[in-house]
Structure formats: structure tokens, C-alpha cells
Symmetry: C2
Subunit: 215 residues, 2 copies
Amino acid sequence: MDAKRADIIADSLEELVFKGEFSDGQRLDEIKLAENFGVSRTPIREALQRLVLSGVAEQIPRRGVFVRKPGPVELLEMFETMAELEAACGRFAAHRMTDQGIAQLKQSNCRCQDAVLAQDAARYYTENEIFHQEIYRGSANGYLEKEALRLQSRLRPYRRVQLRFRGRLAQSMAEHEKIVTALEAGDANCASNALREHVAVQGERFQQMIASLKD
Amino acid sequence: MDAKRADIIADSLEELVFKGEFSDGQRLDEIKLAENFGVSRTPIREALQRLVLSGVAEQIPRRGVFVRKPGPVELLEMFETMAELEAACGRFAAHRMTDQGIAQLKQSNCRCQDAVLAQDAARYYTENEIFHQEIYRGSANGYLEKEALRLQSRLRPYRRVQLRFRGRLAQSMAEHEKIVTALEAGDANCASNALREHVAVQGERFQQMIASLKD
DNA sequence: GTCAATATTTTTGTATACAATATTGTTATT
DNA sequence: AATAACAATATTGTATACAAAAATATTGAC
């Protein structure tokens, strides 16, 4: 996998940014990072480049790379895009999912249900991700799947916060049911719309949360 | 912009790959490239990393980076994804485009029409791209817009080939009209479907072309 | 004291040097 | 002759060195 230290460092840095160790706009000091990680500047620079290309940081030539945390607006945009990507996956999946794929999806959904019943938010969080990934896979479009996975991963830290919303889990499960039914029936439009809504709601909730924090 | 040589080299390399200077699976030799570009390995390595992250090449740790040209299947997948991204843009644009945006879109479409009448395929190619970009912009979703632009750019070399299809230009213009009408009417579903079809057709044509080449 | 011009220091970007790993070629054994 | 073990070579990944540019500090003029 990541045989290079640069990759490990990139992952670490991404993690640190999400964890809030760096403030928005902060310059990522190559030398300090090199010291912290106990390596030279070379692998640090490679890692930084990866952060830049994944959108976590921004590079200003001959000036440095700076942490770039998405604000509320961009976050909503990303959730909207995620909703559309998932809608697209659902559209294809409705026509292309194999019986085996559907079976796996149902199984995955059951595990979500289990987690809800067990009131285990952390497990629901994990199982829910897998549920969605099954649908990406079901699109039978490797490129789309990869893009969906990329954005899902990018939004991960922001989805996490929302699990606390009261009643969200139950509603989420109801939506899952609708999605599974539509996929099984091969109803592309219905699956697509259900998924779009299911994901878009998350973005909207996030906005609400931010708004409520402003008070 | 690109104050770094690494960026210039990355663009050059991408260009060279598309132009067919490298065969699929070929290893991109850091040392030879460094000699060719008259620089050291360092900026070459940075450029290669960019190619890898943009999907033009693949990296196998401790082994090298290799050109990775998409085959027919992946290309179709990419066109499908483009179609869905544009459909998403159209969906948002139908609700969000300003009068000014619509006006610009119409203007852009007129320039497409001009190019068709002038039988100027190259100009149509350019104007058509702008037309689509107006819609991305119209989605009023910067993130989605960026993603759409990225894939549009990635598919550029493959779209180029298709202009030669007889009658495609006229049909394409008819589809543009339908798209503009739907967007102006604020009909999200219609705009979305029209765009999806408009783009998806390109992927299918491409498949046909490849199939015909096999004979 | 404030501001501008210059000098100093930092920091980025690139080149080179070195270490670790993979690849290739050679030799020896069966 | 084929194959396995080992040596030689080449290539990647990392560290260090240096050059160019930017940021900061210092000095001087008003």
C-alpha cells in the first residue's frame, strides 16, 4: 500500500487538520513538520502536495501551503454534490445491481438496523458508510464509485457530528428501506430521488447546526 | 499561477500522454524525463505525483509510476459520470440561474450555432465547452462546478475525436435548445434529463467508434 | 515618530548525494 | 540446459546543500 513515508505523513496530516490541530488559513511549516515527524523536508513536501490536491490545503506558489477548511457554504456545496453523486449511483444501481449485490445491501442495512436498536451510534456510523458503499459498487461504474468514495471520505469528519441529532437515526433507517425497495424494484428514478434526499438532508442538518451555534 | 517548474512539467507531461507519446503501462523514467526537461529529478517527481493524483498515471511504490490510459470501459464510465455531473448541474441551474446567467447561456449557444453554420468544428468544440461551463456555473455550487470542470478537462482529448460524426453537430444543437428551454422554464427534471442524454450520447458514440475500429 | 529603502533572515524550490530496495546478470550446482 | 543463489546494477525514496524569492528587521531621511 503506502510504502512511502510521505503517504503515511499525508494521512497523519489530514487527520490532524480534521482534528483541529491546525486553524484555518494556518501555514503548514515544512521545517517544523519535518522536525515533528522526524524526517527531512522532502517527504513532508510530498505529503503537502497530496493535501493540496485533495483540497485540504491550498498552495500559494513561493509562499507556502495553508490549511483550507471549508466554510459553511462550501460544506453545503459538498453535501449537495455528494447527494447528486449518490443519486447517480442509485440510478445506475437500480438497473445494474446483481441479486447478490442486493442481498449484500440488505445484509448491510440489517447491520445498520442492529446498530440503531443497540443505540450504538459509532457502529451505525460505520455500517451506514458500508451501506452507501454497497450502492456505489452497485452502480457498476468504477470511476463513479471511486469519485463517490473520495467525497464520502472527504465529508467523513463532518458527517460524524450529525449523529447526535435526535430522531435522525430512525428517520435515516426509514429512508434506507425506501432506497433498498426502489433498488430491488429496479426503479431508477425512485432510487435516485430517495438517495438524493437521504444525503441532502445531512447537509441541511449541518447548516441548521451551524446556524444554531451562532446564537 | 504556476510559478513552479514542476507544474509546467506536469502540464507538459499530461499533454504528452494524451498526444500518445507514451504507451499505456509505460514507466515514466524520472532520470530520462529529468534530462529531457533539463531539470533535476525533484520537480519531475512532483509532476509525476500530480499525474498520479489526477489519474493519468499510476504509482507502484518503490517501483515507479506508469502511464495509465483509460480503456474503453473506463472511458465509458467517465462519460457516464460526466453525464450525471452535468445532469446535477442542470438540476440546480434550473432553479438557481439568474436572468443574466440565462442570457449568457443563450449568447454562448448562439456562438455554438454560428460555429455550426460556419462548419467550423474547432470553434464549435470551444464554444460548446463554454456553453457547458455556463451551466456548471449556473449550478451556483462552486464545488460541483469545480468537479465538473475537472472531469470535462480530463475527457477533453476524447471528446475531440467525436466531432467528425456526421450529423452530430446538428443534433447536438437541437439538444442545446432543449436544455436552454428547460433551464429558462426552471424545469429541473427536464433540464437534468436533457443534459444527461446530451452527454451520455457522447460516451455511446465513442464506444461505437472504438467498436468500428476493431474491424 | 513615521515611513521608505536597504540589509538580514526565512522559506520555498531545485539540485545533488546517499541509502534502501528492486531488477538484472552471472555463476555454480544439479 | 535449467534453475537457484548471489553479485552487480539501476531506480526509487530520503536527506542534505544550495539558489532564488519572500518576509522581516534595521537603518536612515524627513
